[in-house]
């Protein structure tokens, strides 16, 4: 489903964040991405959602070449993806509920089922009681869970999680991993970038390891 061929990414300041990466993730697969701070994990994930464009190489998702996507087609690609951003990107002038509502508004979901979906997503991450709060009143871990709820509310085909458990304690991290696994079991392709050794220890999923922009399998 997701195929990288000879992909490199050089940022405008000259720094090469990814160097000739070849990669293939099958549809419905769950993959971990690990590596040092600054190894290029976030860059790789951003390339999938066309948030950054590769300097060279080809990225195909379901046969579509992302590198050559017209700007008008990008929104429709992104709607297939649920992205948990490393820096959260919450909107601090809306309630918790409205933050999770956003992805549904964007893709014109049916108004009658929307509220139920938002609540279901909040329930899964244990934030249902806080639906009327503003994000500023959430603890660090609660914010991270809010991001997760927002990424899964529209049931995307691909789930990309960039450091989803950095602010969570072991129990919550286990719950969140279980949530990801359950998504994966119903066919969602899941990519998780993480440093958390405890997540990687007892997993039977594939682990990709980046080292200074190169994939070391």
């Amino acid at each position: 489903m997701i195929i990288f061929k000879n992909v490199s990414k050089r940022y405008p300041d000259g720094y090469v964040a990814l160097n000739n990466v070849d990669l293939s993730v099958a549809s419905g697969e769950m993959v971990f991405l690990t590596g040092h701070s600054g190894a290029g994990k976030s860059t790789l994930l951003k390339l999938i959602a066309a948030i950054e464009r590769p300097t060279s190489g080809v990225i195909t998702i379901s046969g579509q070449n992302i590198a050559q996507l017209k700007p008008a087609a990008i929104p429709y690609l992104r709607r297939k993806i649920g992205f948990i951003f490393q820096d959260h990107k919450l909107l601090f002038d809306r309630t918790v509920f409205d933050n999770v509502l956003l992805p549904l508004q964007i893709s014109n979901f049916d108004h009658n089922t929307v509220a139920a979906r938002v609540r279901a997503a909040l329930d899964k991450v244990g934030l249902l009681k806080k639906e009327k709060a503003m994000p500023i009143a959430l603890s660090g871990g609660e914010r991270q869970r809010l991001c997760i709820a927002r990424a899964v509310v529209h049931r995307p085909a691909i789930l990309i999680a960039d450091e989803p458990t950095g602010n969570l304690d072991v129990e919550y991290a286990r719950d969140i991993m279980a949530l990801f696994t359950s998504f994966n079991q119903v066919g969602v392709t899941v990519l998780i970038a993480t440093h958390d050794a405890s997540l990687l220890e007892d997993t039977q999923h594939r682990i990709l390891s980046l080292k200074q922009g190169k994939l070391a399998t």
Binding site: A49, A50, I74, L77, L91, Q105, I106, S107, N108, R150
Partner: protein, 303 residues
């Protein structure tokens, strides 16, 4: 489909309204700024409209003075008046009795009581007419015809006088034009900048929406509503300022009207003018929002 569209837009509309209310100081200040900025060119427009109605015929069509013989009777004057008004070449007829002419002389020169000093009024009665044609030939023709009337001593058309008045009016027009240009640049810049700065504070929202797959038009929509609503509110404020200003000004004019015994009153904004004002201000707000959002969207595009 239609219903979904309506719900979507209705939702955005109310979201925008709620936001305007949520930041009352920012909204109010911006609306006042836009209102004042808009009321100035609107005021100039009203003044120009009124001036034009007042001075239009005077300045634009050529004018001729007919001096009557000194001994003309009231009867003959009436007859001349009637014949002038029936003439299709003549647009307007204004009678200037000798007393009025003397009074005007006194007013304009600062010399008072000339009649008293002279013992009697030396000026003749006169007519001032405006003609339809303004070619030299046609005017000369008319002059010759009128000269032949027995009551008329002398017909004069003076282009120098008109030139002077025109120079004065030109100056006025120039001043108004200069001011209007300046103000137009100003309101566009002010509304544009106000809405742009307000949107700058929403950078996060634009960026996130883009990242989770919102189309450009979806992202722009609330901001366009916001800009248009703010612009409309600014236009309404300008309209209110205009109405109040015209009313206050007319009250002042009453004194002047009484002194000069003429009817000087500014005409209020017409329905059409009011609607144009609102539409224009809404459009300006919309434009300011559009340009700001578009520039943000462009920055977030992957390269």
């Amino acid at each position: 489909m239609m219903r979904a569209w309506l719900t979507q837009h209705g939702f955005v509309f109310f979201l925008t309204l709620r936001r305007l209310i949520a930041t009352p100081l920012t909204s109010l200040l911006s609306i006042i700024v836009m209102g004042i900025a808009l009321s100035l060119p609107a005021g100039i427009y009203v003044l120009m409209q009124n001036l034009q109605a007042f001075s239009g015929q005077m300045a634009d069509s050529p004018q001729m003075s007919l001096f009557l013989k000194l001994d003309t009777t009231q009867d003959s004057i009436e007859k001349v008046n009637q014949r002038l008004e029936e003439n299709p070449q003549i647009l307007s007829v204004r009678f200037i009795p000798k007393d009025a002419a003397l009074q005007q002389l006194q007013q304009s020169s600062g010399l008072t009581d000339i009649a008293a000093s002279l013992g009697r009024n030396p000026l003749p009665d006169a007519f001032v007419i405006h003609t339809q044609e303004n070619t030299a030939d046609a005017l000369e023709q008319l002059r010759l015809t009128l000269q032949k009337w027995p009551e008329i001593e002398h017909v004069q058309f003076d282009s120098a006088w008109i030139e002077r008045l025109n120079a004065l009016l030109d100056l006025g027009r120039f001043a108004v034009l200069m001011l209007a240009t300046l103000l137009s640049v100003a309101i566009i810049a002010i509304m544009f900048n106000t809405i742009r700065l307000q949107i700058l504070t929403k950078r996060d929202e634009i960026e996130l929406s883009k990242l989770i797959g919102a189309t450009d038009s979806f992202i722009q929509r609330p901001f366009l509503y916001f800009g248009a609503l703010q612009g409309l509110a600014g236009g309404a404020t300008a309209w209110l300022i205009m109405v109040l200003a015209i009313r206050t000004f007319n009250e002042q004019l009453i004194t002047l009207s009484q002194l000069y015994a003429i009817d000087l009153q500014l005409q209020p904004l017409t329905m059409m003018d009011s609607i144009s004002l609102l539409l224009f201000s809404g459009w300006l707000g919309w434009l300011g929002a559009r340009i700001s959002v578009a520039s943000h969207l462009w920055q977030i595009e992957p390269k």
